[in-house]
């Protein structure tokens, strides 16, 4: 695989403006699908370097950052899980699949609750940058095998490790049978992705509801995070009167599971769960409903029509 020239657009989906789209209906007449995606991750103590991105800000071992993430797997996940249990949410786990080997106890606790597992790569310290297509196919195979072995589930979703991608990533995910990707942030509704084979959809997975972005990038206070979750929800809930939308809350137990943060979060998801029109779903269930209701075909047709200039 030689070096390809850079492109000015991904070319992975057609533009389809929000007004006038085919109407989406969710199971049971619910208005808004809300799914929570805990990133259960393993960051390596001494990972190899990738020429495009170094795993840690400091030389290995970066014990402060390593141990900060490890907090999630020792303490934070229990608080996060208790808050979700309380509000009746099952998680869709964005899983670094090596965690099945490191911490099977955590995997078991999630599986026992009927949570879904989707792949977030092998480790969060291993990026797909500079991989060949075959190497990237190999980590997809590894993810399918590992999740099947430890949970009995067939992978349906994918979020690239540490949001690292190649231009061909979507094609080889679809080729392997992945049903939805979380790597793109262009919509509040699931949308078809143009791939060489299969039927891949882009699942709404909000960066701005993601606790890493909120806490580490935006420097938001824990109580204000609770506030923006409610506001995001209130707006989408109102808009879903017209057509079903999706709200995603991506989490990291090392952040939201800290003692100074968990209560504000727990109260926010309790608030969401208190609304009748909410469908507390998993990513897999949303993807299945999207296909079963005919939304995939309708959106594909609408996008094709729009692209042909029939606007």
């Amino acid at each position: 695989m030689g070096a390809e020239p850079m492109r000015s657009d991904l070319g992975l989906y057609d533009y389809l403006p929000w007004p006038g789209r085919p109407r989406i209906t969710w199971p049971g007449g619910k208005k808004l699908a809300v799914w929570i995606a805990p990133n259960i991750e393993f960051y390596e103590y001494d990972p190899p370097n990738n020429p495009t991105r170094t795993p840690w800000g400091r030389p290995n071992p970066d014990v402060l950052q390593y141990s900060h993430r490890d907090y999630g797997n020792r303490a934070g996940w229990q608080r996060m899980m208790a808050a979700m249990d309380q509000a009746g949410f099952r998680g869709s786990v964005s899983l670094n699949v090596a965690l099945c080997d490191h911490h099977p106890e955590i995997i078991r606790a999630c599986a026992d609750r009927g949570w879904e597992f989707f792949s977030h790569g092998i480790y969060n310290t291993r990026y797909v940058y500079n991989m060949t297509v075959d190497q990237e196919r190999e980590i997809i195979r590894d993810a399918f095998d590992t999740v099947r072995k430890h949970t009995g589930q067939e992978l349906a979703g994918w979020l690239s490790p540490a949001l690292s991608n190649n231009l061909w990533t979507m094609d080889i995910l679809a080729e392997a049978g992945i049903r939805y990707t979380c790597d793109m942030f262009h919509d509040d509704q699931p949308m078809p992705v143009k791939v060489k084979s299969g039927k891949l959809i882009s699942m709404p997975y909000s960066l701005e509801m993601n606790d890493v972005i909120v806490y580490n990038s935006q420097k938001v206070t824990p109580r204000h995070y609770g506030e923006i979750i409610r506001r995001q929800f209130d707006q989408l809930y109102r808009e879903s009167d017209e057509s079903g939308m999706v709200m995603c809350i991506p989490l990291h137990p090392y952040l939201v599971g800290q003692p100074h943060r968990i209560d504000a979060f727990a109260e926010a998801i309790d608030y969401i769960a208190g609304h009748d029109g909410v469908w507390q779903a998993t990513g897999r269930e949303i993807a299945e409903a999207y296909h079963a209701s005919g939304a995939y075909d309708a959106m594909t047709a609408a996008a094709a029509k729009h692209a042909q200039g029939d606007r």
Binding site: M1, F42, E44, Y45, D46, P48, N50, P51, G57, R58, P59, N60, P61, D62, V63, L64, S67, H68, D70, Y71, N73, R74, A75, Q78, R79, A98, D101, H102, H103, P104, E105, I122, Y123, R126, N130, M131, T132, Q135, E138, I139, D142, Y215, K219, T221, P222, R223, Q258, P259, H260, R261, I262, D263, A264
Partner: protein
């Protein structure tokens, strides 16, 4: 450039951690820890006393709080020194008013630069924790074991000599360690360290020189992190510290004793406009039954035999 095939090898993919320093353990599944007199919370106040050299190196990384203007950076150099001239004494006065004996993490060079400061800390009944030689001497895997050992030994020689205390606790500048740091610390008589941010309880670490305890130090509610990395206000810091305490206090009813750590910096919380917010935090926490405040070494000693 493509990645070599061995990028897909994972030699440490196995049960538990991907290193041998400590075992994985679920904090909520452990045997409950008990504190003296049945206390629910061990409050661990750790005030950082730091020296940032004017010529501090940028490689391989600067410790947080480092000077950031072009050399000679009088601006940040003197601002940090403010903490050692005024700020630390403001915190010491408040702790004395509250009758608290706590820990001070002190750069070794403070012993010779500001002996009066160290004397005030010791006379206040506080424990001195070794905080490296100075904030320009960060520990990392690029240091030879000999060079790193020399820094540790010199730090401890200075602090033990000046305080008369055994100095058995360690906090690395910037909480940065190399692969050898735990061994070198244990070899030099350190029994516990505050560098690892993965737990709300003490836990044992292995070194080839013997056992070391990891003691909790709250990274995200550290006064410097909230003020200088998150740019959040003092009332927002107070709220987060209170919320943190409330959750740990609640958990202690079902899961046993917890450690509530309160990391402070002489040049952050020692500011005139901030110190009364610290009083608000202390008043709130000390207003609860079952709070035991002690230097980290005493909390470590109470945990030994239980973890």
């Amino acid at each position: 450039m493509s990645l070599p095939e061995n990028y897909l090898d994972y030699p440490a993919r196995r049960y538990g951690m991907d290193h041998d320093r400590y075992d994985w353990s679920d904090m909520f599944a452990r045997k409950p820890i008990t504190w003296p007199d049945g206390a629910r919370i061990a409050l661990s106040v750790v005030t950082h006393v730091q020296h940032f050299p004017l010529d501090m190196p940028a490689k391989p990384f600067k410790a947080p709080g480092a000077l950031s203007m072009p050399y000679p950076d009088f601006r940040y150099f003197t601002h940090r020194v403010y903490g050692n001239r005024i700020g630390v004494f403001r915190i010491l006065r408040l702790l004395a008013e509250k009758g608290l004996q706590t820990s001070f993490a002190v750069n070794g060079c403070i012993a010779t630069r500001y002996p009066a400061l160290l004397k005030a800390v010791v006379e206040g009944g506080h424990e001195v924790v070794a905080h490296g030689l100075d904030m320009g001497k960060v520990h990392h895997s690029g240091l030879s074991p000999e060079d790193e050992n020399a820094i540790i030994a010199e730090t401890l020689r200075l602090l033990r000599g000046a305080t008369g205390q055994p100095v058995e606790g360690w906090l690395s500048p910037g909480r940065a360690q190399g692969f050898n740091t735990p061994e070198l610390l244990a070899r030099n008589g350190i029994r516990w360290n505050l560098d690892w941010a993965n737990d709300d309880l003490p836990y044992p670490m292995r070194t080839s020189e013997g056992r070391l305890l990891a003691m909790p130090l709250a990274y995200e509610t550290d006064d410097r992190v909230v003020a200088n990395e998150y740019f959040q206000s003092e009332p927002e810091w107070v709220q987060q510290v209170k919320d943190r305490f409330d959750v740990l206090y609640r958990e202690s009813a079902d899961y046993g004793g917890r450690v509530m750590s309160l990391p402070l910096h002489s040049w952050v919380s020692g500011m005139p406009y901030r110190v009364e917010y610290l009083r608000e935090v202390l008043d709130y926490i000390l207003g609860h039954d079952g709070v035991w405040t002690a230097p980290v070494g005493q909390i470590a000693a109470a945990a030994e035999g239980q973890v």
